[in-house]
Symmetry: D3
Subunit: 281 residues, 6 copies
């Protein structure tokens, strides 16, 4: 795994004491893990690789440093790049450049959602802007008590455009609260995030949150990867389709998946009260 | 009603003290109401009949015995049937058999959702696997304090395929929690079910839950059946369509429904402060 | 603003101490703000005008009088008009009349949702029937402790048809609770509304609720109108589309919006720690 | 009918020798019926009124003068108005103005599609740009042999935005041909229009085309208006939905429509071999 | 196959000289194969059975007698039943009865579309009303030169409601022509049907058409049933979904189907220039 | 442009006598341009680059050699790779491998559709299997008289899975014909392809076809690239969405695009009867 997981600004590990679990850490703590372009490109590549890596069945995502999961987009870098007033004077041509750029950026975030293995994010400290976009693309969100959340984009004059406005309402299922935090850019804390269902649980601090994320990842990684990855895929599909389309897709998906030997392995282990082992996927 | 509602493993009653309310009870308590194939076929037939029975305006669904609403699929029976390693060696042909089987099974669960009369389920004890699929197809869920819920399918190596993954997120409106319970198969209790909105209320025990379900059913059954059945249909339609499509469908639906004499009956009874009576439907 | 905002049964003001905020008040307190046909037509016109009025960046909607936001449709007037048994004897032709009428009525409510500026509704007292339809078309709901909510339509023999059944489930994200209150017509109070996420916050009384609504509106009105109006539009679009369609729409929207001078204005003000000013929109 | 159908640049008649048929004529022949803003607003009003006028069951739309149905948008007027370089310097704010304007313009064209009565357009001479947008919103297209068609928008630097790109492919059902004529702006004649199915038939000249349109309109107007208007509505709905959604909508629509007395009137007339008469709608 | 394919008004055969091909014939020639209720119920049962019958890989559907494939609904029978003025006086309740009836009828036609094996219909003589609905639910339409087609429903005062208005436009891909024939109820012949793509080919008479249908069925039946049935299913799915959804569904479908031994059987036979044989499905 | 457009098995040129036009040629004539894996990967990269290359405004795609545009997938290579019986014995795991592979392959074909510049394909000789999939992803299809088309996949035991079954029906708009050629795998020629609208025109031979493709590309490349690229994008969007969604997307798209200087450049050139020049895009 050595070389191909060495990406600038990220640490990727397969801890030996957590079988089938990968740990991805955003690693630019000196800038509060603020994102510059190379980072989201690297992140997409990391999750695309983990998606296919048979050694991995669940992923923990966290941010290095005590202060922040991420403060979001590195606005200073962006204002010198994308958001700068450039030399193009034709607004239609400038729009084409911006649209291509936004689409490429969105695709990097979507890579986390498309990763075939479940992703558990451990949030702490500042988790603003892009931090919200990113965490809505993961499967399960845990956070430390000190986490400061915020859909901050309106405060820099833009509508959030890399995922929050499309995914956050479907994560929490409540439009009234989403509209309030998105239209006002007000920050909110761990308790509020728990109450509205943005996070599944709150822990005392960063370490405890990451530990809990690993515990959850370990549990998921102990299950049949055929069952787990099918469950993630069908849930993601169902979010965007009618119940009837969801059922139809499920029946076709499981027409192959049910032929797995994992079913008999799981059933037998259940009867014998021992831990099943499953072939790689 | 005698003959045609006598189905193996189910008790169907029209209690004389609950006008317009039917009671369907899963009745295989010696096996904790675990489902075998004939049961879901029977269940579909029962709800298809109740859907058209003018004596019925609301339905209570519960499980016989103290221990379980249902433990779900009878895995032992299934492993000897559907999930067994059969003689077909061509995976594509085996997939066709499985797909047809899953689709037929899904259709039986969907019969509960399509039933034109509201269905209130009273849950207690073990309510696992298929018990979750089934209850997401009902309209309102109540439960006893002792209820043990669980999306257990990954524990037997499969992704839930008869409704939970398509319906549960739309019932509770929160994907983070759904992903956690579906990917880990961990059980959860009545308080958690209430907190996330999976059940509408929690009661002390099975009897109290069923009594509350009847009270709710009685209330619904006292209303105009034109209004009640239209409300269920429009809500189900809206779940799977845009707001605009929902509004368009509603306007066409009500162009017939508003011609009912129930409106004047209800208005007049309101003025006269007496209980209205409505023609059968 | 004088003349064109003077509509019967409504008061529309641009308070001088709330820059960029408009206040729309339903003003028929002697009948508990019950709606007659001219009122919903006027309301649509008001919100269509405010949508384009550059002096307005956020809107507060409330009801005059201490007792009610609105008791909903003026049933007495309706029963003499639309719902009366008229002389048309052909049910198909009567259906055409009803369908056109419902559609026109729906469009008036939808005008609130389509208004490009965020709408915050301050609810109090009776907020029944049409009051629910109307408030689900706003962006953020606040309420007084004494508010009495109710999806009352089944009590007059009809399925709610001007928005509640299509929008309420998407506002709160939970179908079980919606089905209960819509099928039973039972009333619910402020605490329950807060718990299920129908309202964002509860205040002591009508005055405090309106004050809180203004505070929220002031905050929103202080932000870039390009960012705020884009955020509302994208959130509304995303509600009715897949995440992928939402992302695609967002990228096209922002390809023009990101060219605004508001971005540099906001960034600069942030660095200089002063309040930015934004050109009209 | 006198006053309310007198709109500038349009002639609207209810010819006494064509019962239940209205004739709408674009009437600015001195400018080849090129459209200025007031014209599309007037056109929307005309079709909104005809939609509800019980004296009308089918509509013929044509253009006055020998040379053109319409040459499309009056580019000279537009370049001084909408498309002019105005004083707004912020591209995002200019985008808001343009978007509102396009939407309003689109809505005027859509009024023809939403008109409950079938619209038959008789095309001749120049039928360019907006002429294509407009005719795709009608139900049936007939044309004279001399008609010159063209999706001309790319020749003035824009993508067609008031309907052609959304409706034309669904009218003719072939994307390859649509892409060619839309990307090249090349004109095409009556024979090609007939071959690809853009028009239903070709006639010798303008008069013959209008006469044929009236003959078709007379035939449609002689049928049950309940059946005809239901057929138009269901076909329009089906274009934008799945077959299954189309069937569901149809069943609800006809649950009211089949209660019409037109069915027995039509059946009886059929048996008695006489022309049925139907109540107004 | 004997007993279970003996249905009143239908003849079902598995001709020995056409391996894997079934022949379904509508058999009520003395009434020009007009449909009464039991017939569409029987037809649904026949196609549901053939869908699963491993002896069948393609189906030919035709009508007995020289004069008609079918004249459609037996209007006389219908006017005494469904369309009769019954005793129900509440239009909303009558609507419920009608809606259930239409839905049940639609489902019978849809059974032909859902049949997993391709269906080729051989049309001749009168093919009116229900004959159009039915043939749009098949996969390939052939016809005799004497065929008289007609979407006749408006002539009896109703909008076609069992499939034509939803499926016909998607079969031929052209809305202008569909609107003309549906709004006018005018009949059309074989040449016009061929020109608009409603039928794939025209033959001299009924016998030649049926012979051609068998030839086509034989060809299809000689191919891998895994490939053929997958192709039908994916084409039907794609009709109602976006290209992207179609691709996603296809990839899941083929993830099982490509594991078939038919691929190597087909490839090997191709190399050896002999006819492959495929396992039953 | 030198290096980055040099891809194995493809020739990419920017002919000096065709300003703004690129020519992509499939270049493996010794194997009749049959595709192996590296080829579709290369093709995706080529079109991704051309999509952003400001020197290119239209693209011609053709196949080298006299005999074939392409015979499709190199079955021999595939049967040793993807379709080979590999060592994986668990059908669910094998399904995962296949699904990932199909998806990656589909994405390469989709790259042609997503290319922002219009693509005109010049077909000749054998154009089978993958040749159909590929050409349905282009915008306009021209062909030589000798072209042999065929949806050949069922002949090797599979349902076409990289685009034909999703795109071909939407290209030609007629399901009856598509089902026949897809279910039988029968080949068809240029005249039939023209009649059903699969190709826009037929030419005498390969050279004449390529020359015609260049002529069309030159014409498109002479127009405003803002208008042309917007037209392609909106047509592609509209194919997969309702008319109403199409109109909404168009209005947002054009809110930026109409701000282009190309409009005044085009209008002015029109008045001055000279060829406009447009800034790069």
């Amino acid at each position: 795994m050595a070389d191909n997981y060495s990406f600038e600004y990220f640490t990727v590990r397969l801890p030996t004491d957590h079988q089938y679990v990968a740990h991805v850490e955003i690693n630019r703590p000196e800038r509060l893990n603020a994102f510059i372009e190379v980072m989201w490109e690297n992140m997409a590549q990391i999750f695309n690789k983990l998606s296919l890596d048979p050694r991995v069945r669940a992923i923990v995502l966290s941010g290095a440093g005590e202060k922040a999961f991420t403060t979001g987009l590195d606005v200073k870098a962006a204002s010198e790049g994308l958001l700068s007033s450039d030399t193009k004077t034709d607004p239609a041509r400038k729009a084409a450049v911006l649209r291509r750029h936004i689409t490429a950026f969105q695709d990097c975030i979507t890579a986390v959602e498309r990763c075939e293995k479940p992703v558990i994010v451990a949030l702490h400290g500042f988790s603003l802007g892009l931090g919200i976009d990113l965490s809505t693309a993961t499967d399960i969100r845990l956070c430390a008590r000190d986490t400061r959340f915020g859909v901050k984009e309106v405060d820099i004059g833009i509508a959030a455009d890399i995922g929050t406005l499309s995914r956050l309402p479907k994560v929490v299922g409540n439009y009234g609260w989403v509209k309030e935090v998105a239209l006002t850019a007000r920050e909110f804390g761990a308790e509020e995030a728990l109450r509205v269902g943005f996070v599944n649980a709150v822990y005392d601090n960063r370490d405890a949150t990451i530990a809990a994320a690993f515990k959850l990842a370990d549990l998921i990684a102990s299950k049949s990867p055929v069952a787990v990855q099918g469950t993630k895929e069908i849930l993601n599909f169902s979010r965007d389709h009618s119940v009837q389309d969801g059922l139809r897709y499920t029946s076709v998906w499981n027409s192959a998946a049910l032929q797995t030997q994992d079913v008999s392995a799981a059933l037998l282990s259940g009867l014998q009260k021992r831990t099943p082992t499953f072939e790689k996927l």
